[in-house]
């Protein structure tokens, strides 16, 4: 009886570790997604500002210590592409988060089952 209890305890510990790992992974994905969303918003703002500019207005891009003159339409398309890319990344993170949450649920259920396996033996004693 004690051996069975020990077995359950080990399994419980293992499930707990996996559950906590899933939780940490979810946390990381959420942080990444938040950063991406901030970048997305910034790029959207830049796009709006570029639209307001007249054709032929001078714009420059800062690459390292250099301000390089850019073509307005080129800049617009670069920013649009960046927005698309970031949106796709955000979606990817969201699917990761959803998958990890499903996994976490599975671990949580298993933990519940194992815990109920542990308690009855104690009651009998």
């Amino acid at each position: 009886m004690a051996n069975v209890n020990k077995q359950v305890k080990l399994e419980l510990q293992k499930e707990l570790d996996e559950f906590q790992k899933a939780q940490k992974d979810i946390q990381k994905c959420v942080e990444t997604r938040q950063k991406l969303e901030a970048q997305l918003t910034e790029n959207k703002v830049v796009k709006e500002e570029l639209e307001i500019l007249e054709e032929g207005a001078n714009i420059y891009k800062l690459t390292g210590p250099v301000l390089v003159k850019q073509d307005l339409s080129e800049a617009k398309s670069t920013v649009s592409k960046r927005i698309e890319y970031i949106s796709a990344e955000v979606k990817r993170q969201e699917t990761s988060i959803a998958d990890l949450e499903k996994e976490q649920e599975k671990h949580r259920e298993k933990l519940g089952k194992l815990q109920s396996q542990m308690s009855p033996p104690a009651v009998k004693a």
Partner: protein, 153 residues
Amino acid sequence: MASPGQQEVQLSSLTPPQLKMLHDQLDQEIEVLTSSMQSLKGAQNQFNESKQSLKTICPKNVGKDILVPLTGSLYVPGQLADADSVLVDIGTGYYAEKTLTDADEFFKRKIDYLKQQMDKLQPAVQQKFQSRQVVYEMLQAKVMAHAKQQSKK
């Protein structure tokens, strides 16, 4: 409002440790929201400063002596040459040449946008404050009731 009512029902069924956890969670959320508010206010001040400094770049100041920063601690003397256009940082490393009026409007837009965002945050902060207060009072009540029970025994 329906939600505080719903919360009340659930709150009274929570144990003191759970109430304490909820209280701490609300505490954290309030901190995050308040620091966001502060960042927004700081950004707004920066834009305001930029807007104010535009005023010094006017035609009557052309030719006046200025100090141009080359690095954080190295300045060289120069003269104000162009009072018609300025380079404005519009984000993600892009700078746009704008006239003084356009630049002024740009900063005004930014300042208004930030004000909008802060106005959006404000009610959320208020609500969290109130919720935390309610949770705290519920926690106090339960602790006192529990203490009374113990002393009766």
